[in-house]
C-alpha cells in the first residue's frame, strides 16, 4: 500500500538514476540466475521429466508412452528411466513380424529350454491340453470332449498316441555279461528274465520289472520294455524303452552296477563284486538315446488296417541304393527285403493286430509316408478278398526283426536328407502334370527303416474281451514323426494323450503307477495336493465333512499305516506281490474260497486286485475296500456307515467367529487412522507368497486332521485296502476299480470263506458289494 513508490515522471517520489551499470546489475543478480538455470537444467530428483512441462502441454499417460512427450525431452526421459532401473518398455512387434519363420523358430527354441518337446508338439499344442510331465511338455487330453470317442477308438477303431517320451537305452556287450548284470536287478519269479530264449533272438519284445540291486521284493523301480537287436554275433545289443518317470533311477542303477564302489562288510563278497564290476565296466557300453527315435502307439483293431494302408514296403535293395543312409549301414540289415515284404503283405490280410503273434517285432523299410497320404480323412479298411493262412500267424520268420533303424550312424544322414513339406510340394507341382497325382516310386523322397512291435492286448477271455487293447507300436527315426503322424491321422486314427494312457490302463485292469515305486509315490503326492487344493477352494458349505463320514485320509492312501495296522509291526517299506506263481495260487484260492498259504514278508505285502461292483453304483479314486461281516450279505441294501461325531465343528465355529472379530477390529483401526490422516505408518507390504496364513492352516487342520494314527478301525467295517483307480468301466459296463489290499487282510477274508468285499467311496456312507479278482500282470 505504499503509494509514494512511483516514478517521478508519473507523480511519485522515486527518482531513477540517469545511468545504470549493467555489469554491476548483472553481478548483483548472478546468484539468483545461476540458481534458476540450475533448476531448469537439472530438475530435482522428485520430478519426472514430463512434470517440467507446463500444464497445458501435458498429455494423458505421458509417463507410460514416450511418444507423447515433445521430441527434445525424449532423451532425458530415457536417461531418467535408466537411472530408476526400469528398462524402457519397447513395443511388442506385430504378429506378422513375430510369425516370420526365423523369429518363430527362435521363440520355439526358447520355449523348449525348460521342457522337452516332442516332434509332434506343435500339432498337439493346437489341439490338446498340454501338461508338464517328467521334464516334457506332453499332450494330456484333446480339446474336443472326446473321452468316449477315445474309448471307442481303442475298442473298435484306432487310437493313436505319441509315446516318443519313452527313453531308449542301448546296452552293448556279451550276452552272458548282460544277463548276469540284469540278474541282480530283476527276479525270475515275476517275469521271464531278460536273457530268456523267447526274447534273445530279437523276434519279440519283452517286459521286465526292475528292482534296486539285490533288494527284491523291496525297492521296486518300474516296468521296462526291452528288445534284443538281432545279430548272430556273441556281442549283442539290448534296447530298453524306459518311462521318463523312472529313467533317472534306471540310469543311476546301471551306472552303479558298472562303477566300482562297494561298501559291503563281507570281504569275500566285496572282492567278488569288484571283480564283477570290473567285468561289467570293461565289456559293457551303455548309451542313453533320448530323442533318437519316435514311437507312436496305435491301439485298436483298425490300427492294423491303418498301418497296412500307410506303409508301402520296399521289396528290392536296388530301389533304395540311391538313398544316402543305405551306404552307411551294413548290408546284413537290409538283405531279405523281398521276404519281409512278402511277410508283411501276407499279414495284411488279417483284420486285427490281436490275430498276429504277440509282441512280434517286425523291421521294414518303407517309402516316405507322405506318398501314401489320402487327400481327405478316410477310414482305412482291411482287405477282405482272401482269408489269412493260419500257418503265417503261428510263426515269425527269423529274418523279420532285423532293421537298419538300430544302426545309429544312419540317423544323422536320414535327418539331414529329410525333405521338408514345402520342398516336397514344390517338387510335386514341378514334376506332376496332373495336379494331385503322386508317383509312389519317386526317388526324390528317401525310404525309411521302421520297426513295428505288436501288442496283444487282452488274451484272457475271463478277464477282458479278447483283443481289447491290442495294437501296434511303430518306431521310426527322428525327424520323421510328423509325416508319419499326419498320414495315420488321415487314415482315420484318433489322437489321444496321457489321459487315454491312464484310462486304457484302467480298462485293462492295470495300475498306472504302482505305489511301491518312487514314481508312484510322487504321482500319488501330486494327485493328493491337487485334490486338497480343490477341496479347500470350495466354500465350507460345499465341502464334504470327511470326519462325519469316518474317513481320515480322503486324498491319499496311507499304505504304510494300513500295513502296520494289519501286522502290528512297524512298517518302513513295503512291496506289491508280483510273483506270478503266488498270484495264480491266490486267484485259485479266491475262486475256491480256500485259505491262502503262509508267505514270508507277508506283513509288508500288498496284493493288487481288480474289483467289480456286483450291481450298480459308482466307484471313485481312493475308495475304501472293507472287510464284510458274517451277515452283511443279507442286508447289503441297508448297509451304511453310521454318522460320526465331528468334535472340531464347534472349534471351527469359535475360531471363525474370533477371526471375523479380529478382522473387524483391524478394519476399524484402519479407518480411524485414515481419518486422522496419519500417513507416517506405511501399509505393510501384502504377502505375495502362496503360503497360507496361520489361521487358514489351523482351520485346514480342523477340517482334515493330519495326525492319522490308525486306518483299519475307523468305520463300522475294517479297512482292507484302497482303490487307487476307480471309475465306470466301458468294457465291463459297470463300475470297476484297481486297488491294493494287504496280504493279511486277504488272509482274514478267505478265512471267513468269502470272496466278496465291501466298497465305500470317500464321499459316501453307503457300502456296496464287489467281486474280487487278483490282477496278474
Amino acid at each position: 500500500m505504499e503509494t509514494n513508490e512511483f516514478d517521478a515522471t508519473l507523480g511519485g517520489a522515486e527518482h531513477l538514476p540517469l545511468s545504470a551499470n549493467n555489469l554491476k546489475f548483472a553481478a548483483s543478480r548472478s546468484v539468483e540466475i545461476a540458481a534458476l538455470t540450475e533448476l531448469i537444467l537439472r530438475p530435482s530428483a522428485t520430478k519426472l521429466i514430463f512434470q517440467t512441462l507446463p500444464v497445458h502441454m501435458r498429455r494423458r499417460a505421458m509417463s507410460h508412452n514416450c511418444k507423447r512427450l515433445p521430441k527434445k525431452l525424449r532423451d532425458a526421459y530415457f536417461e531418467q528411466l535408466k537411472k530408476s532401473g526400469i528398462s524402457p518398455k519397447q513395443k511388442r512387434p506385430s504378429r506378422k513380424h513375430r510369425r516370420r519363420p526365423k523369429y518363430l523358430l527362435e521363440e520355439y527354441n526358447r520355449r523348449q529350454k525348460r521342457n522337452m518337446w516332442l516332434e509332434t508338439h506343435i500339432w498337439h499344442a493346437k489341439r490338446f491340453h498340454m501338461t508338464e510331465c517328467w521334464g516334457y511338455r506332453l499332450a494330456y487330453a484333446p480339446c474336443d470332449k472326446a473321452f468316449r470317442a477315445c474309448y471307442r477308438g481303442s475298442s473298435a477303431h484306432c487310437l493313436m498316441q505319441d509315446i516318443s517320451y519313452l527313453t531308449p537305452i542301448q546296452i552293448e556287450g556279451p550276452v552272458d555279461v548282460i544277463k548276469d548284470m540284469f540278474s541282480t536287478i530283476t527276479n525270475s519269479s515275476c517275469n521271464l528274465s531278460i536273457g530268456a530264449k523267447a526274447y534273445i533272438s530279437g523276434n519279440r519284445e519283452g517286459t521286465i520289472h526292475v528292482y534296486n540291486s539285490n533288494t527284491y521284493p523291496f525297492g521296486y523301480i518300474g516296468k521296462v520294455q526291452f528288445m534284443w537287436i538281432p545279430s548272430t554275433n556273441i556281442h549283442k545289443t539290448l534296447c530298453l524303452f524306459v518311462h521318463p518317470a523312472i529313467v533317472k533311477q534306471i540310469e543311476l542303477l546301471l551306472m552303479d552296477l558298472l562303477s566300482n564302489n562297494t561298501e559291503q562288510k563281507d570281504f569275500e563278497d566285496v572282492s567278488k563284486k569288484r571283480k564283477l564290476n570290473h567285468i561289467y565296466a570293461e565289456n559293457i557300453q551303455i548309451k542313453v538315446l533320448s530323442g533318437m527315435f519316435n514311437r507312436f502307439r496305435l491301439t485298436g483293431p483298425n490300427s492294423h488296417a491303418i498301418l497296412v494302408n500307410s506303409l508301402k514296403c520296399v521289396d528290392d535293395i536296388q530301389k533304395i541304393k540311391h538313398d544316402d543312409w543305405v551306404e552307411k549301414c551294413d548290408n546284413k540289415d537290409l538283405e531279405l527285403l523281398k521276404e519281409k515284404d512278402q511277410y508283411w503283405s501276407s499279414l495284411s490280410l488279417a483284420n486285427s493286430p490281436s490275430q498276429l503273434p504277440p509282441q512280434a517285432v517286425i523291421g521294414l523299410v518303407v517309402r516316405d509316408p507322405r506318398l501314401r497320404r489320402p487327400n481327405h480323412r478316410t477310414k482305412a479298411l482291411c482287405k477282405h478278398d482272401s482269408a489269412v493262412n493260419t500257418s503265417i500267424l503261428t510263426n515269425i520268420p527269423p529274418h523279420a526283426s532285423t532293421s537298419a533303424l538300430w544302426n545309429l550312424d544312419v540317423h544323422e544322414t536320414i535327418k539331414k536328407n529329410a525333405v521338408t513339406n514345402s520342398k516336397y510340394i514344390q517338387h510335386v507341382t514341378k514334376t506332376q502334370l496332373v495336379p494331385g497325382e503322386i508317383n509312389e516310386n519317386d526317388p526324390f523322397l528317401q525310404s525309411l527303416p521302421v520297426v513295428l512291435v505288436q501288442r496283444p492286448g487282452s488274451q484272457d477271455p475271463t478277464h477282458k474281451k479278447i483283443g481289447y487293447g491290442c495294437g501296434w507300436d511303430i518306431i521310426m527315426p527322428s525327424g520323421y514323426g510328423l509325416p508319419f503322424w499326419l498320414t495315420f491321422i488321415m487314415f482315420g486314427a484318433r489322437p489321444g494323450g496321457l489321459r487315454e494312457t491312464e484310462s486304457l490302463a484302467f480298462e485293462m485292469g492295470e495300475c498306472y503307477f504302482p505305489p511301491d515305486s518312487e514314481a508312484g509315490r510322487i504321482e500319488e503326492e501330486k494327485i493328493e495336493s491337487e485334490l486338497k487344493n480343490r477341496y479347500f477352494r470350495l466354500p465350507p458349505s460345499k465341502r464334504v465333512n470327511f470326519i462325519k463320514l469316518g474317513i481320515n485320509a480322503p486324498f491319499i492312501c496311507p499304505w504304510r499305516l494300513l500295513l502296520q495296522d494289519w501286522s502290528e509291526t512297524p512298517v518302513e517299506k513295503f512291496f506289491i506281490l508280483r510273483d506270478r506263481q503266488k498270484l495264480n495260487n491266490l486267484q485259485e484260492c479266491i475262486q475256491a474260497k480256500k485259505c491262502i498259504p503262509q508267505m514270508e514278508n507277508s506283513d509288508f505285502c500288498l496284493v493288487a486286485v481288480y474289483l467289480q461292483l456286483s450291481v450298480r453304483g459308482s466307484l471313485k479314486k481312493n475308495a475304501l475296500i472293507c472287510l464284510p461281516e458274517q451277515n452283511d450279505m443279507s442286508c447289503i441294501k441297508e448297509l451304511a456307515e453310521p454318522h460320526h461325531e465331528d468334535p472340531n465343528e464347534q472349534l471351527r465355529k469359535v475360531k471363525r467367529a474370533a477371526h471375523l472379530k479380529l478382522l473387524k477390529q483391524l478394519r476399524k483401526k484402519r479407518i480411524k487412522q485414515h481419518k486422522k490422516q496419519i500417513t507416517t505408518i506405511k501399509k505393510l507390504n501384502k504377502k505375495t507368497s502362496k503360503e497360507p496364513s496361520k489361521y487358514v492352516k489351523e482351520m485346514r487342520e480342523l477340517w482334515l486332521p493330519s495326525n492319522v494314527e490308525t486306518v483299519r478301525h475307523i468305520g463300522a467295517r475294517q479297512v482292507m485296502g484302497y482303490i487307487s483307480q476307480g471309475a465306470f468301466s466301458f468294457t465291463e459296463a459297470r463300475s470297476c476299480g484297481v486297488g491294493y489290499i494287504t496280504y493279511n487282510a486277504l488272509n482274514t477274508l478267505l478265512n471267513m470263506a468269502k470272496n466278496q468285499v465291501l466298497l465305500r467311496n470317500t464321499s459316501s456312507r453307503k457300502y456296496r458289494l464287489a467281486n474280487i479278482q487278483i490282477a496278474i500282470h
Binding site: 525270475s188 521271464l192 528274465s193 536273457g195 530268456a196 530264449k197 523267447a198 533272438s201 519279440r204 483293431p301 488279417a350 483284420n351 486285427s352 490281436s354 490275430q355 498276429l356 503273434p357 504277440p358 477282405h384 482269408a387 489269412v388 493260419t390 500267424l393 503261428t394 510263426n395 496283444p456 488274451q459 484272457d460 477271455p461 474281451k465 479278447i466 483283443g467 491290442c470 506270478r580
Partner: protein
Amino acid sequence: MADENTLQKKEEPKKKQKRYPNKNYSVKKRLPLRPVDGNNVIFITKKSNFKAQLDKCCDLLTGGENEIILHGLGSAIQRCCNLALQLEILFAGTCQIEVNTGTVDLVDDLEPLTDDLDFDTQVRHSSSIHIRIFRVAMLGAYQNQ
C-alpha cells in the same frame, strides 16, 4: 466244453497234438479270424445282453435291410440259434432262415513260463454257425430301393 472233448477224441488217431500243455506254458488266446464284416453282419457273443442283440437285429430288419447275417462261434452257437428262431417268430412269414455250419481254426499262443523255452502256438478247431436271415416280403416296412 463238451464239444471240445469230443473233438479231441476224434483227432486222437490222426496226430497227437500238444493240446493241454504242461506247467511250462500258459495258454493265451488270440482273436479268431473273422468273416467279411459289414453293417448287416452281427457277431453273437455270450457276454452281450440277449435282448440288446435281438433289438439290434429287429432294428436292422425293420430299417429296410434285406438280409442280416449272424455269426456264432463255439458256445455262442446256441444263443445264435435262439436269436434266429426268435426273429423268425417275430417276423413271422416275412423272413426266412438259411443256416450254414462250419469249423474255424483258432490259434492259441503258448507263452513260456521258464527261460529256456520259446513261444509256441497251437491250432484248435471250433464249430461255428452262420445264419442268414432274409426277407421274403415287406410288410409295412420302409422299402429300401
